[in-house]
């Protein structure tokens, strides 16, 4: 709502003695405002509670946790759980903590992001400026395919990557992420390039520039905003991925999410909840930082994923 349409109907009218003049008297606490803010604050508790619990639990010692009060603050900030989670927690057969998983995630995310974004950018560019017969059909199938559950593609993809000799390696995961990131990223870039003035492109062609030249010297430099959005989308999505990591990466290359799940759900003996929570926070840290840093851009990226056609 705008500045002009102020809240209606809940304000005092001029009494017998008051002569109305100037701005309407607006009491600070109207019932409407109270309801609005209380509901929002209530939901904020719902959203913030798990974060609080995660962090607080990770700083406690096990005796403190066994006390049975998840609301309670730790008596002192204890980093033991964090150190254990990072260096020595057991992720299946090895007990090296999350740090290998972290680096694996990095090794998966960076190349996947670069490759998937680059290919999608080229796709979007080709679809908008260099249409050829059938290009739109390919794009339509791409988009349609993005709705199909991954499980339909899993086994054949495993077979293909095995044939190519890359199953169980980083390359396989990178290829898979590129494949499944293509629809939405191509859509993003296609829409963006379609919104750029055609004259720019035509002028460049008149000047004699060809496909790649125009792409690198004209389109790319102008695409910074959409690149950032795509970057946020991909880094967050790939870092948080579980399925492709567990299927294609191979035990040596499990990303952080897979390691995390192993630490918590495949643990032997008594669960060490503080370590679990520390590990959980560590895994969520990277996307959270991106989220808080990018702010409005994150929202735009997420909403851009929602804009179809």
């Amino acid at each position: 709502m705008s500045q002009t349409a102020t809240t209606a109907g809940s304000l005092p009218h001029a009494g017998a003695g008051i002569e109305p003049r100037g701005p309407r008297p607006k009491p600070f606490f109207t019932p409407k405002k109270i309801i609005i803010y209380s509901v929002l604050v209530l939901f904020s508790f719902y959203f913030l509670f798990p974060l609080y619990v995660m962090v607080v639990t990770s700083f406690k010692t096990m005796p403190e946790i066994r006390f049975g009060n998840i609301f309670a603050l730790p008596s002192q900030v204890n980093f033991d759980a964090w150190i254990k989670a990072w260096t020595s927690a057991c992720t299946g057969l090895t007990c090296e903590g999350l740090s290998p998983g972290f680096w694996n995630s990095v090794k998966i995310t960076i190349p996947s992001t670069i490759v998937s974004i680059f290919i999608a950018a080229v796709n979007g560019y080709a679809l908008v400026n260099w249409r050829f017969k059938g290009s739109e059909v390919f794009f339509a199938i791409l988009i349609f395919g993005s709705f199909i559950p991954y499980q339909v593609f899993l086994y054949p993809l495993v077979m293909i990557t095995r044939q190519l000799g890359i199953f169980g390696t980083l390359q396989a995961v990178i290829v898979v992420h590129t494949i499944f990131g293509m629809p939405i990223l191509t859509l993003l870039f296609r829409n963006y390039f379609a919104s750029l003035p055609q004259e720019l492109f035509k002028a460049a062609r008149v000047d004699g520039a060809g496909f790649w030249r125009i792409f690198f010297e004209i389109m790319l430099p102008m695409s910074l905003p959409i690149f950032v959005v795509a970057l946020i989308l991909q880094v967050t999505g790939i870092w948080n991925d579980f399925l492709f990591g567990v299927v294609f990466a191979g035990t040596q290359n499990y990303p952080m999410t897979v390691q995390l799940n192993n630490i918590v759900n495949s643990a032997q003996g008594t669960p060490e909840y503080n370590v679990n929570m520390a590990a959980t926070v560590l895994t969520g840290l990277v996307p959270l930082i991106i989220y808080f840093v990018s702010g409005k851009l994150f929202v735009r990226g997420v909403a851009a994923g929602a804009v179809k056609g």
Partner: protein
């Protein structure tokens, strides 16, 4: 007789910006008043204040004698028509017209009757079951007016209703609005930046600039006796010619020394005073050739540009070094380079004080 709408000492600030300052305006019963001015002059803001959509910072608003400064728009006895029509997109025309009445809990028969009456006046009966998306711009605007009509109110507010229409539609609907006013005889407050709409529709025009009413008068007065330089330059197309110079003795001395007698001019103070001044004369008050003979001031000029407009011709030339325009019949053949004799009577023009820009 009690005025229909009375605005007293109205001020509105957006933070530190003073949008409206100590505005006073009395509007008579059944009057059609136009708030005219460029973007940002405060005319829409004033309208929104009258409607109750904006809270004022100070001052009071009375409608039909009732102090409505703190009232909600629905309790002020107003109906409003917006620039973008603002029709409810998912409702049919009939539902658009009746929605407010249904929410207010009015009896079904009463609603049907009012809708029928409005549709009949605005000739939109065949459109009642259509959705806004299936209407033309002109039809949509009529439905928007209808929505205000069914409210059975005394005061109608129009916020640049024709600005979204193309030129032909605009002139058609302009006449419709004038006819509506003649038929209904309600008070109408109309905001626009288009001077043609203002001149043709208004009983009185309030020209606004920076939140202050420059002149409030009927169209004829505004056109022929503008109260300051701004109003003079704003109204009239092509705009008034302005010559800078000074009043000395009984003459106006232009910057290049040309002397123009001002004896026939009606000074507000009664007589001429020596001062730096600006002389304004409209293109249609400058005459050519024979008609110029009778004029108190005549001079020879050379034609620089000729703009044939079909119904007449607009000629550009120079007087005292300043480009001026004048109109003449399209029958008279004019060519660039022609040396002609033109003349005018200052009594038809306006003289403004160069410092204060007020009319002298």
């Amino acid at each position: 007789m009690q005025s229909s709408v009375s605005i007293r000492d109205l001020s509105l600030n957006f933070g530190a910006v003073k949008v409206l300052e100590h505005l006073d305006l009395e509007i008579a019963q059944g009057e059609f008043i136009v708030l005219l001015g460029p973007s940002g002059c405060g005319k829409s803001t004033l309208l929104n204040c009258i409607a109750g959509l904006l809270d004022v910072s100070d001052g009071q608003i009375f409608i039909n004698g009732k102090n409505v400064t703190w009232e909600e728009p629905k309790d002020r006895g107003i109906g409003m028509v917006f620039q973008s029509y603002a029709l409810y997109p998912q409702m049919s025309v009939e539902k658009n017209l009746s929605f407010g009445l249904r929410v207010a809990g009015m009896a079904k028969e009463e609603i049907t009757q009012r809708v029928k009456r409005a549709a009949e006046i605005l000739q939109i009966e065949p459109l009642l079951n259509r959705k806004p998306a299936n209407l033309s711009g002109g039809q949509r605007q009529r439905v928007a007016i209808g929505r205000a009509l069914v409210r059975d109110v005394d005061v109608f507010l129009f916020d640049e209703p024709l600005s979204n229409l193309d030129a032909k539609l605009r002139s058609d609907l302009r006449v419709e609005i004038k006819r509506l006013h003649q038929r209904l005889k309600n008070t109408m407050i109309y905001v626009t930046h288009d001077q043609i709409e203002a001149l043709t529709l208004a009983d009185r025009i309030a020209i606004m600039k920076n939140g202050v009413i420059q002149q409030l008068a009927d169209p004829h007065t505004i056109y022929n006796r503008p109260t300051n330089l701004y109003v003079a330059g704003f109204i009239g197309s092509p705009s008034m010619n302005f010559l800078e110079g000074a009043l000395k003795g009984g003459n106006f001395i232009a910057s290049d020394g040309t002397s123009i007698p001002v004896g026939s001019y009606e000074f507000l103070a009664g007589r001429s005073t020596d001062a730096k001044a600006v002389l304004g004369i409209r293109p249609e008050h400058i005459f050519l050739g024979e008609a110029a003979h009778a004029m108190p001031f005549r001079t020879d000029v050379e034609i620089e540009i000729v703009e044939p407009m079909g119904s007449e011709t607009l000629a550009w030339t120079r007087l005292a070094g300043i480009p001026i325009t004048f109109r003449c019949s399209s029958d008279i053949p004019l060519r660039v380079g022609d040396k002609v004799n033109i003349g005018f009577d200052v009594a038809r023009g306006s003289i403004f004080d160069a410092e204060s820009t007020d009319r002298l």
